[in-house]
């Protein structure tokens, strides 16, 4: 059913009652699988994904070139690689969306997402520390309600942090949209943060991933038709959203860390504040 | 009609391939590239000679069984011309991209045709040879090829480089290729014909492929392919060696 955009202009409320710059409820955990080197579970609204990271470890048998990229994106793989290869695989559960449709093995959309996530993380992870080895990231989509790529990137980042793989900073992602379709063509359309499935289908939108708290964009994917004039607004909101997401992810990691220190699993570190040399 | 037109060719048109050529004749346009000798993949590595890999790609639609057949015909013929023994365990890769085929304005045919179309073979073979020469791949000799159709009525029963319309009417269609030593390299015929008819076809084709250079250009049996090949190459070599 078509999205009633007129309602927005009146109450400035979205279909799910959010304001223009509100994220959906975001919940995440790390350390969900004891066996894995790193693991995470993440919800953005009703989009639910989980991630398991193994490695860095000796690369196994050669897998398909797609979605597996060396630090630079070109070449990659091969025994003599100077940096670790980041291999991503995505499995979308049949029950994840309303109409159960099988996703084919070589589905190009998924291959594209794989290589995107792989390249995005390779840009932040310090892969050069692990020559001729592989970092395997396997993602599972349990439920889809928009912003899938963003959720996957966030989950992958968390899992890599959990695995203790050195990285420049978090790669945090979210989506942004615009309140009216390109056809409506009003230049003055408002930007929207964090689209759900319905908004994603009806409205123009883009997915952005930034590095840490900076304004530096690692991933920018826009798959819908929209006036250039609206890009800046959407991008700004998205970048801001990414910063919020980073805070949330960071919180998750810190809470976990604190708990571990409390339990005495790891001894306390020296304070950051008392940094004077003695 | 298309039959009488002279063929056109250009060599080394692709800057990044070892050798390449385009060849246009009788409504067919083919782009050919040659890379080699290069490292052969494990499965087509041959201990004593180079593996000649031919890939034929249709202008529209995906390559199917008939492309495989064309490839095997060309592969067996070209391996005869190339000095494969010079490059053991190596690969010589020939890609032939069909760019245009003569269209019949009187029918709408399907995109992917399963039946093999002989008339494209000469164009493919000529292109491959030109590309090989441009890649300076050592060869035993060169070759030339043409297609001849036997039509029911009309002034001359033999049509060289027939257009699709003629092909429909033709009793039989013949493709022949001769090496520069005047030996019969390839002969593919289909339709309904007798040994005698084939003999006539053989004569006509040989006339086109192996006419001695001295012969005057009066009688219009069709293009003089051997002469064409030589002139094309001489131009190229002269150009390459402009500094001499």
């Amino acid at each position: 059913m078509p999205l009633d955009t007129s309602a927005y202009s009146l109450a400035l409320l979205r279909v799910d009652g959010r304001r223009w710059n509100e994220l959906r409820r975001m919940h995440a955990q790390i350390r969900t699988q004891a066996a894995a080197d790193g693991s995470s579970y993440l919800e953005m609204g009703h989009t639910k994904v989980m991630c398991v990271v193994t490695g860095p470890s000796e690369p196994g048998p050669r897998r398909s070139a797609v979605g597996a990229s060396g630090g630079t994106g070109v070449g990659g793989g091969s025994g003599e690689a100077a940096q670790a290869e980041v291999a991503v695989s995505i499995v979308i559960a049949g029950f994840s969306s309303v109409d159960r449709k099988r996703t084919a093995r070589g589905d190009k959309r998924i291959l594209e997402m794989q290589s995107t996530i792989s390249n995005a993380l390779a840009g932040s992870l310090h892969t050069h520390l692990y020559p001729h080895s592989a970092i395997n990231i396997s993602l599972h989509v349990l439920s889809q309600d928009g912003s899938l790529l963003a959720a996957l990137i966030n989950a992958a980042t968390l899992a890599c942090v959990d695995a203790g793989i050195p990285m420049t900073d978090y790669v945090a992602a979210c989506t942004a949209g615009s309140t009216s379709t390109y056809a409506a063509g009003d230049e003055a359309a408002d930007p929207l943060l964090d689209l759900n499935q319905q908004e994603e289908q009806e409205l123009p939108g883009l997915t952005v991933a930034t590095l840490g708290e900076s304004d530096r964009v690692a991933v920018l994917v826009c798959e819908s038709r929209v006036q250039v004039s609206r890009l800046e607004g959407m991008l700004a909101v998205a970048v801001d959203g990414c910063k919020q997401v980073r805070e949330i992810l960071d919180r998750v990691v810190r809470d976990k860390g604190r708990r571990m220190v409390q339990e005495g699993t790891i001894e306390k570190g020296v304070g950051v504040n008392d940094m004077e040399i003695d | 009609m298309a039959a009488s037109t002279e063929p056109e060719a250009a060599l080394s048109v692709l800057p990044r391939a070892d050798g390449s050529a385009t060849y246009a004749h009788a409504g067919y346009t083919v782009m050919g590239s040659v890379n080699g000798p290069i490292e052969a993949s494990r499965r087509d590595e041959h201990p004593y000679e180079a593996h000649v890999d031919v890939i034929v790609r249709p202008a529209a639609g995906v390559g199917g069984t008939r492309e495989r057949h064309l490839e095997s015909i060309l592969q067996s013929s070209l391996s005869q011309l190339i000095l494969v023994k010079n490059f053991p365990r190596q690969l010589i890769q020939i890609v032939l991209q069909i760019e245009a085929t003569p269209e019949n304005d009187y029918v709408n045919t399907k995109l992917v045709q399963a039946s093999l179309n002989f008339p494209v073979v000469p164009a493919l073979l000529q292109t491959a040879i030109l590309a090989l020469l441009s890649a300076a791949v050592p060869m035993r000799e060169t070759a030339a090829s043409t297609v001849v159709a036997v039509v029911p009525q009309g002034a001359k029963r033999l049509l060289v480089d027939p257009v699709p319309r003629d092909l429909e009417a033709a009793h039989s269609v013949h493709v022949l290729a001769f090496t520069s030593q005047d030996e019969l390299l390839l002969a593919e015929s289909e339709g309904d014909f007798t040994v005698k008819e084939w003999d006539e076809v053989y004569e006509a084709a040989k006339e086109i492929c192996c006419r001695p250079r001295t012969l005057d250009e009066e009688n219009d049996v069709g293009p003089d392919l051997r002469h064409f090949l030589r002139t094309t190459l001489e131009e190229k070599v002269a150009e390459d060696l402009y500094w001499k």
Partner: protein
Amino acid sequence: MAAAAPPSLSFPRPVFAKLSPHPYLLRTLAPQVSPDTPTPKPSRTNGRAPHEARPVYIHTSSLSHAHGSALVRVGDTTVICGVRGEILPVTSIPQYRPRADFGEDDDEETRRAGRGELKDYDLLVPNIELATGCAPQFLPGVPPSTLAQTISTRVYSLLHSCAVVDAKNLRIWASPVVTKPTGCDDDADKMEEDDEEEEEKPELVAYWVLYVDILVVSFDGNPFDAAWMAVLAALRDTKLPVVTWDSDRGVAFCSRNAEKRKLQIKGLPVACTAAVFLEKEHGSETSGEENNRHWILLDPDRSEETLCGETITMVVDCEGGETRLRSLEKQGGTVIGRELIRGFAGVAEKRWREVKGAMSK
């Protein structure tokens, strides 16, 4: 055959054959003159004379579910072919276009048009399968080999170029009796079919599509001849049930015990293949006069095929008294020239008679 093994040979024949097949075959084809065999006859490793083909064995209608079938054995090459007809309503042919007149009279024009029909609507669908294990090189789970694709293309082309099946035998008509009462759109159809007048013209409603499936059970060289023989035998064996057309529901049906009509097959084209065996191994640069001999091996088996580069396949049909060629394929070498081809026509005729015999049995 002691002469075949040279004194120098220190290991038994099978080993010799395995180690160096080329010299081995060469020896048997060109045996040295020795006291006990003053004039040795050249023979192949399989004991045949160069121009001797393997005997043909054909058995038809062995498959109960196919409309026509045949099993062909040529030496150790065994091929099964099954023909199955399926009804294809014209409405479900995307690029179907009604033609003004289907001239039933048998002139050039209509025959060519018929050929067009066969091609454009895909009424003949051959498919060949080289069964796993029919020869060592065929492994399970691999995409169809180049050989399989090549053969199916050749069969397909030959089927059309020889026009053994005429399109008119595959057309399914709705008799005017049935068409009369039916609705207005039907009239419209007729309008379309041929602009105005003559109401009584029957209407073309569907085609028979013939699926020709070829299975090579065991493979010992020369698959094409055998495959083509099987196809021909199976087609000659094909009987299609008479179809009645229900124009109300717009479907064709044939009752289980409907009478079956034999499919008309035109001519008896027979394929005959030979391979050229060179004295010097292919490509080797030593070209003296003495070692330039060659042999033409008719109906080569697998081991011979691996040793031969050049092959020739001639399809002949002597049904109408005089010998007519239906196809000629020669490639992979420069030995076979004009003279040899002329001569080969004779060989092919001989082969044709043999096969004809086997067919009529």
